[in-house]
């Protein structure tokens, strides 16, 4: 049964991989990830793990922003919290909940480490990313002058 399920998943993965590469041909440069998904990849790639994807939408259905951003001390900055596994198993950051009591525990590596390898730390779908040319930045700090 377990083996069967695994095979089914493999078959499915293959089809999805195909579909993903096809979409990549049809629409270069556009990723469709959910608004406010955060990719965290300060260390993961270097340690041979997939980047972490944190879904805001999923968590805000269950918690108000205050729980993470005031009580648990998450700074408003993608990649800015220097999260690592040692902190998580000590009950900090994701580990305040992913401890087998409030939510599933850390042995489910692939649930968090689910990003396409090589994806840099970023905030998906942000308004800044959607600007065609970052005009405002250029006004503040001309690129050719140092």
């Amino acid at each position: 049964m377990a083996l069967n399920a695994q095979r089914r998943n493999l078959g499915r993965s293959a089809v999805f991989a195909m579909m993903a590469s096809l979409t990549a041909f049809a629409l270069p440069q556009v990723a469709h990830a959910e608004y406010a998904d955060v990719v965290i990849n300060n260390y993961a790639d270097a340690a041979g793990m997939r980047p972490v994807i944190f879904p805001h939408w999923f968590h805000r259905v269950r918690f108000r922003c205050k729980v993470c951003h005031a009580d648990l001390g998450f700074q408003f900055k993608a990649g800015g919290n220097k999260i690592n596994m040692a902190k998580i198993i000590d009950g900090q950051f994701c580990g305040a909940c992913h401890n087998g009591e409030i939510a599933w525990s850390v042995e489910n590596c692939g649930m968090c480490h689910s990003g396409i390898p090589g994806t840099p730390t970023h905030f998906h779908g942000s308004t800044v990313q959607r600007l065609i040319a970052p005009t405002y930045k250029a006004l503040e700090k001309p690129a050719d002058k140092k």
Partner: protein, 241 residues
Amino acid sequence: MSYKAHARWLTALVTMLIAVTAWSSEVLQPAQPAAVEWSSSTDQGSVFAAISESEVMHLADVSSANTFNQNLKKHEANLPPPEDGIHDPNNEATFALQPPKVAFKGLPESTFGNQVDWVKSIDQKALAPRWDRVNPDEEPFVLDMDIVRPVKASMPDVVFPHRQHTEWLACSNCHPAIFIPQKGANQISMSAILLGEKCGVCHGKVSFPIETKTCKKCHSKPKPDDWKPPLSSATVNNPWK
């Protein structure tokens, strides 16, 4: 290995084949007739093959440069994780993640961001996210105080509502790091917001994005009837007037 497993592998393979054929016929076909015409009208296939190759590249260049509204970015929203372009479909656990559409069923809708109206979701009690990590009964401290910020432009004035914010956030999330808690004490401009400062710390990242459809959420207080736009000094001092 069971018969079922074989059948599934086969289906996967056939689907892949169909996909590849579909793709190649779509992308490669315009190139093929040109190549065939060239080599069939002459006998020196190898020479013309080279020419037709550059011909094909040239055609491709022109067509892609002239696509209609080439700077318009459209995204399909709420795709399931394996198809969303950042989750790895080769990771088994990706398939265990919840697709957003499943979770958003029945919530009040919007046409931007997550396509969910998060404010209405709480007001209508369609959602009750926890205010405390462990205690589901703890209630937020909601402050009902609007702050009006007059705007020096034709846009309606900005109303900042504390109520909707304190449903989600603690005072310390904004005061004093992002805003000094005093009316008018903060310099806020649209360029700062678009760069991710002030209101843009959250809006354009997690709370609703900054786009044409959302301007009026913030710019919600119409200008008085007798409002006239301030004239720029270049207009006032224009020597050729």
